[in-house]
């Protein structure tokens, strides 16, 4: 265990799951027969709209009757089929591992490779974040000095662990990475050949991220490290002149509709055997951008809600910038394409809410890092097994037995949510809006 913290997540609960596995989704079993449990008042991080949304199983469950016809007996939660496709990859459940970029918490600590091994074993898609190659090298030409968490090692580890036909590796490339030609490097690397041949490699164009919409990647570096990359990145004396550490920033990248469309076309043209993913920050035009990305041929669009982000960001961005994930999903509304959601997801309830609001899969970011930090061999596997069991229980309760059957009416949001600003013109209740988005 290292010193990874996630103060804006229920870190204790996540670590408990990483340690104890599915037992941790229940109250302590020793309390059974003694304690009486009921809903607890919310504690911990300030709840957002998704947290306050409740999952509402109906009384009448025609879907369960349909499943009973198939099975010839009463269906149970074990009969829920969670298998799905995520951005062109087959997955055992609608969960993927979000990008950890060059942030120190993920790279150089061994956590990136541990996460890759466990994600591979689970068969869930894994995204590898930007800025790793220019900051830490690729890991081929300088094997002796390459960090154990480099790009190559993560791909190799994942590929070795993944069951045949499941999952896939998704590689991001930032503007600075383009100088290092990360995609060209991976596309022509023998380590990626098997993934490529099996259709299990994708490239993700990172337009932005939830923690800092409108900013590029940001990390804190020692003065010596910063010196070495100063011709690629902007380096700022943000912590005082002469301080031991400095702020390294990437450019946010300039996008217009035409630039986004053409970049996607170029990715499809240059890497015809790889899938194309696009990651958007929770901007006010997120629906327009998602639509454009799909129409240009993206196999998946990831929306990172303002709650998301493993990276370093100024507090004002964490607290006051970007649309919450629920609002992103509502704005994007009904669609036929793959929409991946991320932002403070760590358990089955929030994941299911995203799926009911139109997401194809939910991404684990900080929670996955915490889990791997808690137990480098099994932490992420246990966390995902917890989420998996919760999804089975929840879908079964809703009378849904396949992921695609979830719908906005599986959710209920109390009146007076954050979208009901007193000064705003009258707007439909969030529930109405969910439903309208689906009509």
């Amino acid at each position: 265990m290292t010193a990874v913290r996630a103060p804006r997540l229920p870190e204790g609960a996540i670590r408990a799951r990483a340690r104890e596995g599915v037992a941790a989704i229940f109250p302590a079993v020793g309390e059974y027969g003694h304690a009486l449990f009921g809903a607890a008042p919310a504690t911990g991080p300030v709840p957002d709209e998704l947290d306050r949304t409740r999952i509402v199983p109906p009384v009448f469950v025609p879907g369960r009757l349909e499943r009973m016809f198939e099975l010839g007996r009463e269906p149970l939660y074990g009969d829920v089929d969670l298998r799905c496709r995520i951005g062109g990859f087959a997955a055992p459940l609608p969960v993927f591992l979000c990008a950890f970029g060059s942030t120190q918490a993920a790279t150089g600590s061994g956590l990136g490779v541990a996460a890759a091994e466990q994600a591979g074993r689970l068969g869930i898609p894994m995204v590898i974040g930007e800025n790793i190659v220019p900051m830490h090298g690729y890991g081929r030409e300088d094997e002796a000095t390459a960090p154990k968490d480099g790009m190559l090692e993560r791909i190799r580890t994942y590929a070795a662990a993944a069951p045949a036909g499941l999952g896939g590796v998704v590689v991001q490339q930032s503007t600075e990475d383009a100088d290092a030609e990360v995609w060209n490097l991976v596309y022509s690397d023998p380590v990626a050949t098997r993934l490529l041949e099996e259709g299990r490699l994708a490239f993700e164009l990172k337009v932005g991220q939830g923690a800092k919409p409108g900013l590029g990647g940001m990390t804190v570096l020692s003065r010596e490290c910063a010196e070495a990359v100063s011709d690629l990145y902007s380096v700022d004396e943000a912590f005082g002149r002469g301080a031991a550490r400095v702020l390294r920033s990437s450019s946010p990248g300039t996008f217009t509709e035409e630039i986004l469309r053409r970049q996607i076309h170029l990715m499809r043209n240059n890497y015809p055997r790889a899938r194309t993913w696009v990651k958007l920050h929770p901007g006010r035009d997120v629906a327009q951008a998602a639509e454009l990305a799909w129409s240009a041929g993206a196999d998946a669009v990831t929306v990172d809600g303002a709650e998301g982000g493993t990276g370093w960001a100024p507090s004002v961005f964490l607290d006051q910038v970007g649309l919450p994930l629920a609002e992103c999903l509502r704005r994007i509304g009904a669609h036929d394409a793959a929409l991946l959601a991320s932002g403070r997801i760590w358990e089955g309830g929030r994941a299911l809410k995203c799926l009911a609001l139109g997401a194809t899969a939910a991404g684990l970011g900080r929670a996955a890092l915490l889990a791997v930090d808690e137990d480098g061999a099994e932490g992420l596997v246990r966390l995902v097994r917890c989420l998996e069991l919760e999804l089975r229980l929840l879908l079964s309760a809703l009378g849904r037995y396949r992921i695609g059957e979830l719908a906005p009416d599986d959710l209920w949001l109390p009146e007076g949510g954050p979208s009901q600003s007193p000064n705003a013109s009258p707007s439909p209740s969030p529930n109405q809006a969910f439903e309208e988005a689906w009509r």
Binding site: N184, Y187, P190, T193, F255, R262, H265, L266, Y271
Partner: protein, 337 residues
């Protein structure tokens, strides 16, 4: 020959033999003599119509980015990361500040994707006859290229008779090339033809390797595909002023399955358009500083092409694979001298 990584993916019969066997093979020797005739004829023709030959730069801070899926090779240049040329396109544009009509016989290095090792048309290290003409339009360049190719073919038929015969290449195969104008079809028409042949070609992308071979098998003389969609090429290929999204570029495709010989077109040269097009191709304008500084003060409008020397040799000699037209062939993924 050391085969490092490809394992079973390239059948041994399709790989070059060892260096001694390759260099002493009569096939290699005939192919290289034909190649020599090609460069002689090209220099003679271009020189006779006013072109200046320049010696090509081999390294630079940046190189041609418009190369599908291929990785550039880095060189440590006194602590700066330089590139081996994937093509001299940026230098061709700059060279027009000195002369109006220039060409290079230029080496290129591209770490092509491993899947191209078996196309018979890809080498990591190869040579291009690289031509650029100030203020030219695409049609001028297509005419120039057709003329150059005919001159080269006539020269080879005359000077390399014995080698062509030894390789079993029928001189009559070039009759249509010498007699008839090369057809000019748009990318959209080529996509239509390929779909007619039940090949699922994307309308937004470059013609894929398989499609290129297929369409090349349908004709008896070289032809041009023009008007590629933006997003299929790098930022240097000029976009139509009247038809946004369509590039003023072309490929020259050889018949009988030999495939693409040459790419070219009108160039992007205005500063603002270059910046926009760089972003559209995911490039960081900062790294093209020297080139953009020239463009800001004005680069001439131009058009030109890069004609693959080994590909042309393979076509003229009727060789099975491109490595037969190179003395020290390097196939993608295979470490060789």
């Amino acid at each position: 020959m050391t085969q490092t990584t490809l394992g079973e993916t390239v059948p041994a019969a399709k790989l070059p033999p060892g260096t001694r066997e390759h260099l002493t093979s009569p096939v290699t020797q005939a192919a290289l003599r034909i190649q020599n005739a090609v460069t002689t004829a090209a220099r003679e023709h271009l020189g006779s119509i006013g072109f200046i030959e320049l010696t090509p730069p081999v390294i630079g801070p940046v190189t041609d980015p418009g190369v599908r899926g291929a990785k550039q090779l880095d060189v440590d240049y006194y602590g700066h990361r330089y590139k081996l040329m994937t093509s001299v396109i940026l230098y061709k544009q700059a060279s027009l500040l000195a002369f109006d009509k220039i060409f290079y016989v230029a080496p290129n290095v591209r770490m092509e994707p491993l899947e191209t090792a078996t196309t018979g048309r890809h080498l990591v290290e190869f040579t291009q006859i690289d031509v650029e003409v100030r203020d030219a339009r695409r049609d001028d360049i297509l005419d120039l290229l057709q003329g150059l190719l005919r001159h080269v073919v006539e020269h080879v038929l005359r000077e390399s008779k014995a080698d062509l015969e030894a390789l079993g290449r029928d001189p009559d195969a070039f009759g249509p090339l010498l007699r008839e104008d090369f057809e000019r079809m748009t990318h959209a028409e080529a996509v239509g033809r390929l779909r007619g042949l039940l090949h699922g070609q994307s309308s937004d992308a470059e013609i894929d390797w398989q499609g290129e071979k297929l369409i090349s098998e349908q004709t008896d003389r070289p032809f041009f595909i023009v008007d590629y969609p933006k997003g299929s090429r790098g930022f240097t290929d000029g976009e139509s002023a009247t038809r946004p999204g369509i590039l003023r570029n072309f490929d020259l495709i050889a018949p009988d399955g030999f495939g693409e010989l040459c790419s070219g077109g009108e160039r992007t040269h205005e500063y603002r358009r270059l910046i926009e097009r760089m972003r559209e191709s995911g490039e960081n304008p900062a790294k093209y500083a020297w080139y953009l500084a020239l463009a800001k003060e004005g680069l001439p409008a131009s058009a030109g092409f890069g004609l693959g020397l080994e590909r042309l040799t393979r076509y003229l000699a009727g060789l099975d694979a491109i490595w037969q037209a190179n003395a020290y062939p390097k196939l993608p993924g295979i470490a060789s001298p």
